[in-house]
């Protein structure tokens, strides 16, 4: 078995394990209110840390392009909402900025 297959199988296992465990242990259990409040705060906390600062390296060496794309997502998202246009628009804006600055 070559190295890459080992990497893939190992990665699959260590990704699936943490995703599965809570479902087996917590589903249909009574959760204390304090713990539940903690769990309900996880989404926004997660998204904040997932975006910042990772986004600055999304296109190596060109943070300006990425930030323009994200600015479009933010402005359009706040103005009209939705997901499809903000996402495809961000790729388009990033592309144009890259195109004209390279």
């Amino acid at each position: 078995m070559n190295n890459i297959i080992i990497v893939i199988l190992g990665m699959a296992a260590v990704t699936y394990g943490p995703r599965l465990l809570p479902f087996l242990c917590l589903t249909n259990r009574q959760i204390p209110k304090r713990v539940d409040a903690f769990l309900q705060c996880i989404p926004v906390a997660a998204i904040g840390a997932l975006i910042i600062p990772g986004v600055f390296n999304a296109v190596p060496d060109k943070p300006v392009a990425v930030l323009s794309g994200m600015a479009f997502t933010l402005i359009f998202g706040l103005w009209r909402g939705g997901i499809i246009i903000p996402v495809l628009g961000s790729v388009a804006v990033t592309y144009f900025v890259l195109f004209f600055t390279v």
Binding site: V7, V14, T15, D36, G48, T94, L98
Partner: protein, 243 residues
């Protein structure tokens, strides 16, 4: 009886419609990111089958990019797997959050649902109000999975035909997707806005501090910020219980 069936069908289609409505944006957001992954893995010298296995067996956006990076600098399989464990351990917290929100779902389905808990699927599910049914979750996850695996293949096979900077700019798609999912939330809740920004700033600080292994800073951020948030939220939670 026919009336009952009709009513069930009506609620079912409503639910399926909702799920498809939520699934299409995820699909469209995943495709460019997956294409970027396909292109990158081809550039790293990975075979088509390996690339397919990567996306179909691991199904974890960011950590697949990290793994490619580590492969290309020659890290050992053990090191890459350990890094992946650390990076993806955040899904433990996400699954914990979701597990309290699902209705009665048979255990065998939970094994499948758990496989599809990606950052983006989780984000959409967690902002949906009310109980989460398995139909809704499955439709959302199937849209995400098909986009991820299909996009990866498309990127690998057709990536050579795309202009290089277009392939590069697709790297922004996953972040834009997360932001777009988040926006309705921060628009209606100052608390959500404050927690999001605080979490991002804390992450920047922790990474600059450089004392945690790769990937752990996100987990620490989620933990600390959600804990801080839970103190603000208490009153609201109790109100909801008394209503």
């Amino acid at each position: 009886m026919p009336y009952l069936i009709l009513r069930i069908m009506k609620t079912m289609t409503g639910e399926i419609k909702d799920a498809v409505k939520a699934g299409i944006p995820i699909f469209i957001g995943y495709v460019p990111a997956a294409i970027a992954f396909g292109i990158l893995s081809k550039n790293c010298g990975i075979t088509l089958i390996e690339c397919f296995l990567f996306s179909s067996a691991v199904f974890a956006g960011a950590s697949q990019f990290i793994a490619l990076n580590l492969l290309s600098i020659g890290m050992s399989p053990g090191g890459i797997i350990l890094t992946t464990l650390l990076v993806n351990f955040r899904h433990f917290l996400m699954s914990a959050c979701l597990s309290t929100r699902t209705g009665k779902i048979a255990k065998r389905y939970l094994f499948l649902i758990a496989f599809g808990v990606t950052d983006e699927v989780f984000s959409v599910l967690s902002f949906k109000t009310g109980r989460l049914s398995k139909t809704f979750i499955f439709i959302l996850q199937i849209s995400a999975y098909s986009a991820w695996v299909g996009g990866t293949m498309a990127g690998y096979i057709l990536g050579g035909f795309l202009p290089e900077i277009l392939g590069k700019s697709m790297g922004v798609a996953l972040y834009a997707l997360l932001l777009a999912i988040l926006i309705p939330e921060i628009k209606t809740s100052i608390k959500a806005l404050v927690l999001t920004i605080a979490s991002g700033l804390l992450n920047v600080f922790l990474i600059k501090l450089d004392i945690l292994p790769n990937g752990w800073s996100i987990i620490v951020c989620i933990f600390i910020i959600a804990l801080a948030g839970s103190f603000f939220i208490t009153t609201k939670v109790q109100e909801e219980v008394y209503e």
